[in-house]
């Protein structure tokens, strides 16, 4: 891990201003991402987990500059993307791609899938002629397990798993280095999930892809990630090598998340002592003082209500933001 990371995120902040509800009060601000830092090395996968609304999707999109950060930096291959103008960014766009959860919503229903996959090739001028593009589309479709014969069909003619393959083919058309996978398998049946996960792993090996894998299913994240970051209310609370997080989670939130994972081994399911968290995730508009997890934390002390814990390295490569860990 001595070499430079491909992606380096530092103190990334993204706030959303809500519409003003009263003239007398300032507008509410949703602190979706509130100071997130991590690195991803080439060819590796960082899993980003957390519950709905913790800011994982916003983190992914802000890194890709699909939304501009409020502050912080995103170094991609040495360049700070946050400092670039929209025009300058265009040159970097084909290096970074995203695969969405709902492939149906991200495909144009009136465009054949052959055209949809060829579109990025034409936009980024990676193919000079139509023939060249269609050849490339054919190769891509075969690679992701779609029959190239179907390139004249429309998205609605495909099943969820096949649509996700189309989304993958589109993202990989421009030969990216880095791909954000935003819940890529959560809307799929388990058998199809496994097929897509296998495909993503094969593609990573072949093309030396770097992944940011955003998901809420901790079984899937464990399977695909080299390192895992756990997010809670806009902050990373724990970051470590994948297996280390599962074997010895240090943050009480990580512990609770892991205890809720429905493993398929019935012996494990019975043995497991579930840590039931009280209540639900607090609002990102007015996050709790001190440690943001303290209202739900089973071991919180007085200090946790006042002092916000720093993310610190407690063991080599294992970072945690908790006063008591």
């Amino acid at each position: 891990m001595d070499e430079q990371p491909l992606l380096s995120v530092r103190e990334l902040v993204k706030h959303f201003r809500m519409p003003r509800r009263s003239l007398l009060r300032p507008a509410d601000v949703v602190r979706a991402v509130d100071g997130v830092s991590f690195d991803i090395w080439r060819g590796k996968t960082l899993g980003l987990v957390g519950e709905s609304g913790c800011g994982k999707t916003t983190t992914g999109r802000t890194i890709l500059q699909l939304m501009r950060a409020t502050s912080g930096s995103v170094h991609f291959g040495g360049t700070d993307l946050c400092q670039l103008s929209d025009k300058e960014l265009r040159g970097f766009r084909n290096g970074m791609q995203i695969i969405f959860q709902d492939p149906y919503a991200s495909l144009d229903p009136r465009m054949t899938i052959g055209k949809a996959i060829a579109e990025p090739l034409m936009i980024h001028k990676l193919c000079q002629t139509r023939d060249e593009a269609s050849e490339r589309v054919q190769a891509l479709m075969e690679r992701v397990g779609l029959n190239p014969y179907f390139n004249n069909r429309y998205p609605h003619e495909f099943s969820g798993g096949q649509r996700q393959r189309i989304g993958i083919a589109r993202a990989l058309a421009v030969d990216p280095d880095f791909v954000v996978l935003d819940e890529p398998v959560s809307s799929l049946d388990v058998s199809i999930q496994a097929q897509i996960l296998n495909l993503l792993q094969d593609l990573q090996d072949e093309m030396e892809l770097t992944y940011l894998f955003i998901a809420h299913d901790l079984r899937v994240v464990r399977h695909i990630s080299d390192r895992i970051a756990v997010m809670y209310l806009g902050l990373i609370v724990e970051l470590a090598q994948g297996l280390e997080i599962y074997d010895a989670p240090l943050h009480p939130y990580t512990q609770a998340l892991l205890s809720a994972v429905p493993w398929t081994d019935p012996r494990l399911a019975r043995k497991h002592q579930r840590i039931i968290l009280e209540g639900e995730v607090s609002s990102a508009v007015n996050p709790p003082s001190g440690c943001r997890f303290h209202p739900r934390c089973p071991i919180a002390e007085e200090r946790c209500q006042v002092e916000s814990p720093e993310l610190r390295e407690v063991q080599p490569g294992h970072w945690v933001a908790c006063h008591l860990a």
């Binding site: 049946d189 388990v190 058998s191 792993q201 079984r219 998340l257 579930r274 209540g279």
Partner: protein, 345 residues
């Protein structure tokens, strides 16, 4: 059988074998079909299943395998073009398929309740949640409006809605996903049903909330001695919440047995594939997942022989021609010509 489960007495697992006595619900050779432009879709195709008093049975399979249609057939809530064309569903000795719609109205929500995957579409947006809970009790339990209100408040508190009095007059859009599901559970349990049908009750929820909801259903069912049919595609939920599990494929049952036996020693290649699709704690990250290749079959034109053969790694000529019936293997039953244990202990 007598497996030792002493370590965790709070989970009401039976010993997993078919309990003695008369089943509370008996489904016999149920055929549910849909007439579509593409032809007759056989959503449920000859399913037989017994549900015994007090057990929690998991019904698993991929989308479109007929799980939900089985539940909707029981409730007689099939969409317009669907019909249970053959078979019987006996509940407390009465064939539900022959009940009048008046009788069904009394049973539905009264003795049999259902929890749906999407509370937002199952609940009325224009009625306060308090009203929706008390309405069911006024109809089925013949309570006065005030009595029903009192009980509804108790129920809301019981399912873990904070400050129920304040929330009573809220509408469903004012609740979060987990809270909505709690409201639906409160409605389902309000009339003390004998049978609960839960259709993917936690699929749309976050893991921690999912755990809360599963524990809640389990606890309430245990308190009331209720029988439950848990429909899910997630073997993990089966492992933690069910006594027995039935695996469905193409509208029929391919394997059924006690949870421990089926999950630790799956016989049918489809069950093996479903289990292998979910990363486990034993698997090494980066390993390829053992999965089921291909897609579920078109229910309007099913293959001959075993319906699973086009996706089965073991299929041979016999599988393509002759359909296997359920046979007993150990404590479980499986319908496969090629039964061979994957993981023998």
């Amino acid at each position: 059988m007598g497996t030792d489960r002493g370590s965790q007495p709070e989970i009401p697992l039976t010993d997993g074998t078919e309990p003695d006595g008369i089943p509370l619900l008996q489904i016999k050779a149920l055929h549910t079909q849909f007439e579509t432009k593409q032809g007759t879709v056989r959503a449920v195709d000859g399913l037989s299943l017994d549900l015994y008093e007090g057990e929690v049975l998991g019904l698993v399979g991929e989308s479109g395998c007929g799980k939900t249609m089985t539940a909707l057939s029981i409730m007689r809530l099939l969409p317009g073009n669907g019909q249970a064309v053959a078979g019987e569903i006996k509940f407390e000795g009465k064939n539900l398929l022959e009940c009048s719609s008046e009788e069904m109205k009394r049973i539905r929500g009264g003795q049999i309740a259902m929890v749906f995957q999407e509370p937002m579409t199952a609940l009325t947006p224009t009625m306060t949640i308090g009203r929706q809970i008390s309405e069911a009790m006024e109809i089925h339990l013949d309570l006065s409006r005030d009595e029903a209100r009192e009980r509804a408040l108790e129920l809301l508190e019981h399912v873990g809605i904070p400050s129920p009095r304040a929330r009573f007059d809220n509408y469903i859009h004012q609740f979060s996903g987990g809270m909505r599901q709690r409201v639906m559970i409160a409605i389902a349990f309000s009339c003390e049903p004998r049978l609960l049908l839960a259709d993917e009750p936690t699929t749309a929820l976050d893991v921690t909330v999912q755990a809360q909801i599963l524990d809640l259903i389990k606890q309430l069912a245990q308190e009331a001695g209720m029988t439950a049919l848990f429909i899910t595609h997630d073997m993990g939920i089966v492992a933690g919440s069910c006594d027995r599990v039935a695996v469905m494929y193409a509208g029929r049952m391919v394997e059924i047995g006690p949870v421990d036996d089926v999950l630790l020693n799956p016989r049918h290649p489809y069950t093996q594939g479903l289990l292998g699709s979910v990363p486990s704690l034993d698997s090494k990250p980066g390993d390829r997942l053992f999965s089921v290749s291909g897609l579920p079959p078109d229910l309007a034109s099913l293959p001959t022989g075993c319906k699973f053969w086009p996706r089965c790694p073991l299929a041979d000529d016999r599988c393509r021609e002759e359909e296997p019936m359920l046979e007993q293997y150990g404590e479980s039953q499986a319908a496969c010509w090629k039964v061979m244990p994957l993981r023998v202990e």
